[in-house]
């Protein structure tokens, strides 16, 4: 499917807010079957980088390429239909719809059924089944008739992931999927990411703060610091590198890297 092109590539991707450069000329390629963790201190531009890739923010400069095709000018819904899927850091749901409806909307988005005015919502059994299947994978099946707003924080995070699964994307973008979850809830999500990774054909991007999570999941780590890509490589090497020690952990060895 990918040919000689990487699944996803950013070239000199930049966004400026006034004088502040939040993401600064980040060039990076992402290959299928790999999980890339994006790390960096708060305010390093990780989520902004995600927003640029998935189209929530317009790039000031540079390009986003999907299978070699320039999608920089495409709006977010177009990129989603081309295979990008995003789970948000701040829970981003339809609060007054049920859990099942939330996921069903994502399943439906892939079918083009959204413009069907004449049939009953409940009559599309196959969509409901697919939605229920996604909910089962995040252990939310028994809460499917609750309103999304009535879920606990951890369950809302799980629902966010279920919605991402329902989109069946080629590129999974997780933005701190386990943030704010209780300890016993975290494994459900991590196992799921493992499972997606084990399929070998999906590209996974993960923004994560917890270093143990990153170590256990990532094939590769890239480090953002003040909007710039400062390190890229195997997890063990990157974590050990002086650049990361300074940028991420705040330790400042002699001969520090550019900022």
């Amino acid at each position: 499917m990918a040919g000689q092109h990487p699944v996803l590539e950013t070239r000199g991707l930049t966004i400026r807010f006034g004088g502040h450069v939040a993401v600064d000329a980040v060039s990076c390629r992402f290959e299928p079957g790999t999980l890339t963790a994006i790390v960096g201190p708060n305010g390093a531009g990780k989520t902004t980088y995600f927003n640029l890739i998935s189209g929530q923010l317009p790039a000031s400069d540079g390009q986003v390429l999907l299978y070699g095709e320039d999608v920089t000018r495409d709006a977010a819904p177009v990129r989603t239909r081309k295979g990008m899927g995003r789970a948000f850091q701040l829970t981003n749901l339809f609060p007054n719809l049920t859990v099942l409806e939330n996921v069903r909307l994502a399943v439906q988005a892939r079918t083009g059924l959204g413009l069907n005015l004449a049939s009953m919502w409940g009559s599309h059994v196959e969509l409901v089944e697919r939605a229920e299947n996604c909910l089962a994978r995040v252990a939310l099946a028994e809460r499917r008739h609750m309103l999304a707003s009535a879920l606990s924080h951890g369950d809302q995070r799980k629902l966010e992931v279920a919605i991402l699964l329902a989109l069946e994307p080629e590129i999974f973008m997780f933005d701190e999927p386990t943030a704010g979850m209780s300890v016993d809830e975290v494994p459900v999500i991590l196992d799921l990411i493992h499972e997606i990774k084990a399929g070998k054909d999906k590209t996974i991007l993960l923004v994560e703060h917890k270093m143990d999570v990153v170590r256990s999941l990532a094939d590769r780590i890239i480090v953002l610091h003040q909007g710039q890509l400062v390190a890229d490589g195997e997890p063990a090497k990157v974590i050990a590198s002086p650049v990361v020690q300074e940028a991420y952990l705040g330790v400042s060895p002699a001969g520090s890297a550019s900022g």
């Binding site: 819904p77 339809f94 909307l105 059924l113 959204g114 069907n116 009953m120």
Partner: protein
């Protein structure tokens, strides 16, 4: 059967179910239950406004679009048949032509308004619709050789719908079966069919996307829905139904003028009916429009009775003078919003859900 008719969207509250059945029975049998010109006028107006308010609920309650142009589309429908029936040979053909022209104009306008302004923030969209609607109202009052200006247009309807026409020689159960009877059931039947259709739309896959847009526009877009398409379509649908409601109302009144269709006061009334009934419920339109229209027509009489009974007491008769009906109407409205923030339907459903 019933599930399919209601699109599986049940009242979900026993009180609400009873109230809806009562309204339905009352309207279905209005010519028999409430004989006389005035009650039938009120019943027809209730039918038309249920439809008008339901179509507005599609925008406000389901999609979260605040539009002030709804009366404009209502007016386009009214003027469409009025102009056709007063210029062409009176007949069903003229009604068809007038309706078709009105629908096309409404669809074109709502499409344009949609494209122009659905990309901007909600408040600007509301302002744009307000401006367009005001412009249209001024246009209608100025183009007096076409629209009759402030006087409006009084027109003749096909023979079958004329008051003097008799379908049956003998009264049926004491009710004259004539032109008014036929017109009433035309209005009632068309309103019912269109209401059921709207109920289906809001419970279709499309309708859920509209709710998703209302709930979280950003997220709906991230799922891959192009919200401009959905909003524009919702806008056009709302305009279409409002136009048809305008046609029905004009046929009932045999008159169209600024005061019956384009007046901004009617826009406010529609807003109140949606809010009182309960936004985003469809059934709220039934309850809201019924209470509102009936109160509008009978509150004055009720107050006249109260005022008469209080004769001799200082101040009070003045307070209940029929001319003060708007004051009391306002008080009723404030109380209902205070005690039923989710509207009557929303409140009833919440209560029923708690009991479970």
């Amino acid at each position: 059967m019933i599930a399919s008719l209601l699109s599986a969207d049940f009242p979900r509250s026993r009180i609400l179910a009873v109230a809806l059945l009562a309204v339905f029975a009352g309207l279905a049998l209005a010519p028999f239950l409430f004989p006389g010109t005035r009650p039938l006028d009120v019943a027809a107006k209730v039918c038309v406004f249920i439809l008008l308010v339901a179509s507005y609920d599609l925008l406000l309650g389901y999609t979260g679009i605040v539009s002030f142009a709804h009366t404009m589309f209502f007016g386009i429908g009214g003027y469409g048949v009025a102009i056709a029936l007063s210029r062409m040979e009176v007949g069903w053909g003229a009604i068809a032509v007038g309706t078709a022209a009105a629908v096309l104009l409404s669809l074109a306008l709502s499409f344009l308004i949609g494209l122009f302004s659905l990309r901007v923030k909600a408040i600007f969209f509301a302002m744009i619709t307000l401006a367009v609607a005001s412009f249209f109202a001024i246009l209608a009052s100025q183009l007096s050789n076409v629209t009759g200006g402030e006087d409006g247009i009084t027109f003749r309807v096909p023979e079958l719908l004329r008051p003097a026409y008799r379908v049956l020689e003998q009264p049926l159960l004491g009710v004259t079966v004539g032109g008014r009877f036929v017109t009433y059931y035309l209005v009632f039947g068309a309103s019912l069919v269109l209401f059921v259709a709207l109920l289906r739309v809001v419970n279709s896959p499309f309708g859920r996307v509209l709710q998703a847009i209302r709930e979280n526009e950003f997220r709906a877009e991230a799922l891959g829905y192009r919200i401009v398409v959905y909003r524009t379509l919702a806008n056009c649908l709302g305009a279409l139904v409002a136009t048809l409601a305008g046609v029905l109302y004009a046929l009932w009144l045999r008159y169209t003028g600024p005061n019956t269709t384009l007046d901004f006061a009617i826009m406010i009334d529609i807003l109140l009916m949606v809010v009182i009934g309960g936004m985003g419920t469809m059934y709220g339109a039934v309850i809201g429009a019924t209470i509102f229209v009936v109160a509008q027509n009978y509150l004055q009489e009720a107050m006249k009775a109260v005022s008469g009974a209080l004769k001799g007491v200082p101040v009070l008769p003045d307070l209940f003078h029929p001319d003060r009906w708007l004051l009391w109407f306002g008080v009723l409205f404030v109380l209902s919003v205070y005690y039923f923030p989710a509207g009557i339907v929303g409140q009833l459903r919440a209560r029923a859900a708690l009991k479970k």
